[in-house]
């Protein structure tokens, strides 16, 4: 009897992927809620008050995980875009499109919470430090990806064009970060740094970790759900979608 090899490509057909994603989503959702609950408890009730920033520092428990997710999701999105262009596989393009809105949302949250953290800490709603400015550009890159796809009528061209844009953009992200950081250090007057975060007690790090994990699990759940929606929308001519409600 020969050993059976797992055929991973079986899951790449929308018809097989749809029910699999459907089974995974509730698990990720529940784990996300638990992780975020633990993180919030740790962040508000266990972590001590910061000496310099007072209670306002607690904003980092959403700001930092949101910023991490915004960058992480862009890289994953670009990876799916690259796989799509390389293998000419439509589901890969769809995965990139499933990720984009969530990534854009986290980028917005990073900017919003960054502003609310900056105001009590440095007195202004916006600071042109390297990270916030890079986040702003990243937000435009997400928007460009989404809008480019929506603007092109031919679906195949839309998939491939937006995928190429994502790849070009992922090369741009480190360039942006480096150039903006350098720009910041050269303009001495405006040298406020988001790295002036409080020295991290272990409890603070733990809270940060749980929130980051929670956001990541949330992203998985939401991305898979959106992927299911994309499959339903694109495959609505197929026979198997008639049973989609129960899958």
């Amino acid at each position: 009897m020969s050993a059976e090899r797992i055929n991973w490509f079986r899951w790449s057909s929308p018809q097989a992927f749809y029910p699999l994603a459907g089974k995974l989503v509730p698990w990720f959702a529940v784990m996300a809620l638990i992780s975020m609950a633990v993180g919030l408890y740790e962040g508000f009730f266990v972590a001590p008050t910061d000496f310099q920033q007072g209670q306002s520092y607690r904003i980092i428990f959403v700001h930092v995980p949101a910023a991490w997710m915004s960058m992480f999701l862009y890289v994953v999105m670009a990876a799916w875009a690259g796989i799509g262009l390389g293998l000419n596989a439509r589901p890969s393009f769809m995965m990139a499109q499933a990720i984009a809105p969530t990534g854009a949302m986290f980028t917005f949250l990073a900017l919003w919470t960054g502003a609310f953290w900056g105001k009590p800490t440095w007195g202004t709603w916006w600071v042109w430090d390297a990270r916030l400015t890079s986040e702003l550009i990243l937000f435009f890159q997400y928007l460009g990806f989404i809008l480019l796809h929506e603007s092109i009528e031919d679906l195949r061209r839309a998939d491939r064009a937006s995928a190429l844009l994502a790849l070009v953009g992922v090369v741009n992200v480190p360039i942006i970060y480096f150039s903006v950081q350098w720009w910041n250090t050269l303009h001495q007057g405006a040298s406020v740094s988001m790295t002036a975060a409080p020295k991290m007690a272990t409890t603070m790090l733990a809270a940060l970790g749980f929130m980051a994990l929670g956001f990541w699990l949330y992203s998985l759940a939401v991305t898979l759900t959106r992927m299911r929606c994309l499959i339903l929308e694109r495959e609505r001519g197929s026979a198997w979608v008639q049973y989609a409600k129960v899958l």
Partner: protein, 59 residues
């Protein structure tokens, strides 16, 4: 536990007007995204149901 009362917790040492909009908008965004996806899924299923009705009428 460092919060001796609910009022203290909400005030966040004077920084409440910064902390709560941050966490609040985050929660709102997450919830909004989930709800929006629910709507999207329902709309897609409705579209599929319509199509099958149309196709059923054709011979």
């Amino acid at each position: 536990m460092q919060w001796h009362s609910l009022d203290m917790f909400l005030a966040m040492g004077g920084y409440g007007i910064y902390v709560w909009p941050s966490f609040g908008v985050t929660a709102l965004c997450l919830i909004w995204e989930v709800l929006a996806l629910r709507f999207r899924r329902a709309a897609a299923l409705r579209l599929i149901a319509h199509r099958s009705v149309e196709e059923g009428l054709r011979p």
